[in-house]
């Protein structure tokens, strides 16, 4: 069981490292989107500070979603997905391994790049820490939920944009609480703990159900 999990995890990470650009592109997409805003809305400090958490989180949503498009697509196109479904291993386990690999490669880097982005928006150190923590808890939820959408839109023309149509509305709670936590942390009196409890609860739920739902969706899509 663990061996199989490790095998798929290793395979996906190796594949990604063979094409190092793939990993970097998500990161750069995130940075570019975040940097576009000051160009579009002007660079007033006060406003940027207020905007910061929201913009960073929206950019994280978009970056995660764009990267997700390829989560199963490559395996589907070359037939390896079909083979995985026929290997006699629980599909949800394989899916979970793929999701974890995907998050390690596209979600985790966002957490580490966050301070850089926070600086662009003149966030305080405290707020930056909170932002990193909220991204660390929030981005796995994005990957898990997004996997369901990626499985459903597998092999469809215009998959990327259809995926966003399906998934972005489902991302809203993460967006609200993720950016909420950062916004609140900028006010002295307020407490960010409830936000993290909520995000943590989401994460647990998603971890339980999303692999199952994605596996079911894959079975439907490969048919």
């Amino acid at each position: 069981m663990l061996k199989v999990f490790g095998c798929i995890l290793g395979r996906d990470i190796t594949l990604a490292l063979r094409r190092r650009t793939d990993v970097l592109t998500t990161l750069f997409f995130f940075i570019i989107v975040v940097s576009l805003f000051p160009l579009g809305v002007g660079s007033e400090r006060e406003m940027l500070r207020e905007l910061g958490p929201g913009v960073v989180w929206v950019a994280a949503l978009l970056a995660s979603m764009l990267a997700l498009e390829r989560l199963f697509a490559a395996d589907f196109d070359d037939g390896t997905l079909e083979q995985m479904m026929l290997t006699g291993q629980p599909l949800a386990l394989l899916v979970l391994a793929k999701i974890v690999a995907h998050w390690l490669l596209t979600g985790l880097p966002l957490v580490f790049i966050a301070p850089l982005v926070g600086m662009q928006y003149h966030l305080s150190d405290g707020a930056i820490w909170i932002m990193m923590a909220s991204l660390a808890v929030g981005t796995p939820i994005l990957s898990l939920l997004g996997a369901i959408g990626a499985a459903l839109t597998l092999g469809l023309r215009g998959g990327g944009i259809l995926l966003s149509l399906l998934i972005l509305p489902l991302y809203i709670p993460v967006l609200v609480y993720g950016s909420g936590a950062v916004a609140v942390s900028m006010i002295e009196i307020a407490d960010t703990q409830p936000y993290f409890y909520l995000l943590g609860a989401f994460l647990l739920l998603a971890l339980l159900f999303a692999p199952l739902a994605s596996a079911a969706a894959l079975r439907i899509s490969v048919e």
Binding site: L156, L166, V176, V184, F202, A213, A216, I220
Partner: protein
């Protein structure tokens, strides 16, 4: 009872039954809607009472609230049929879900539209990011997502099952989404939300509103049955009974 249900769960039996029911539902819906329009425009006061009295534009309530209710109710129906389809693998349930979706989306749009035209005179803006309005917008996105996914897949069976799964995931997420919009700050959530209640509304207004709701409800039965009949014809087109029906209806 159960025997009856199973009998009508087959497209063959359902097609003619739906055909007979549609005129009844449609006719009743028309009567109820016309009645409530009459009642709403001529038998109700010119302003809505309460602490923040609204002038005649409050009459939008007669369509706004029923449409908003229908939009949520129909999503429930949609998800329920989807779940039944996935669990029992009955083709008719998927078709049912498919038939309901466009009507639901239309009612959602109506709720948004009428809300906007109510907001302009009463709040001075067509749109505000009030939780209720935002959740309705999200509901609209969910409907559109269902329809878009279904039509993006060519193989009807895969389309049915995939969009059914999406509808169920949407249903699970809906309360979470609505709640997160309603209470973006968990520290002081309870204080934020207040519910206006129906109980202190004048009974004439209530009558018009409830009849309209019933009318909309029957209307959605009629339209989704009609759409369902079309779907059945298309999907069963190579079976004998459909050919017979087509020949019969070509003559009339």
């Amino acid at each position: 009872m159960t025997i009856n249900l199973f009998k009508y769960a087959a497209p063959t039996a359902f097609y003619p039954a739906a055909g007979r029911l549609i005129p009844w539902f449609g006719g009743l819906a028309l009567i109820l809607i016309l009645f409530s329009l009459y009642w709403g425009f001529f038998e109700t006061p010119e302003r809505l009472g309460g602490s923040n009295p609204q002038k005649e534009y409050y009459r939008i309530i007669f369509i706004h609230v029923p449409a908003a209710w229908m939009s949520m109710w129909l999503y429930l129906v949609l998800a329920a049929w989807s779940a039944i389809g996935l669990v029992f693998n009955t083709r008719l349930s998927f078709m049912m879900a498919n038939a309901v979706a466009p009507t639901g989306a239309i009612f959602t749009f109506i709720a948004l539209w009428t809300g906007a035209f109510w907001g302009r005179p009463s709040w001075g803006t067509y749109w505000d990011w009030d939780p209720r309005l935002t959740s309705e917008l999200i509901l609209f996105f969910l409907y559109i997502g269902y329809i878009a996914l279904h039509s993006a897949i060519d193989d009807t069976r895969r389309a049915d099952r995939a969009s059914a799964l999406l509808a169920i995931v949407g249903l699970v997420m809906l309360p979470i989404i609505f709640w997160s919009i309603n209470c973006p700050d968990p520290n002081q959530c309870a204080a934020l939300h207040q519910r206006s209640s129906l109980s202190n509304i004048e009974s004439n207004i209530l009558t018009a509103m409830l009849t309209m709701t019933l009318g909309f409800w029957l209307y959605s039965f009629a339209t989704s049955f009609a759409r369902l009949r079309g779907i059945i014809l298309l999907r069963e087109s190579d079976s004998g009974w459909v050919r017979k029906i087509v020949e019969r209806e070509a003559r009339t």
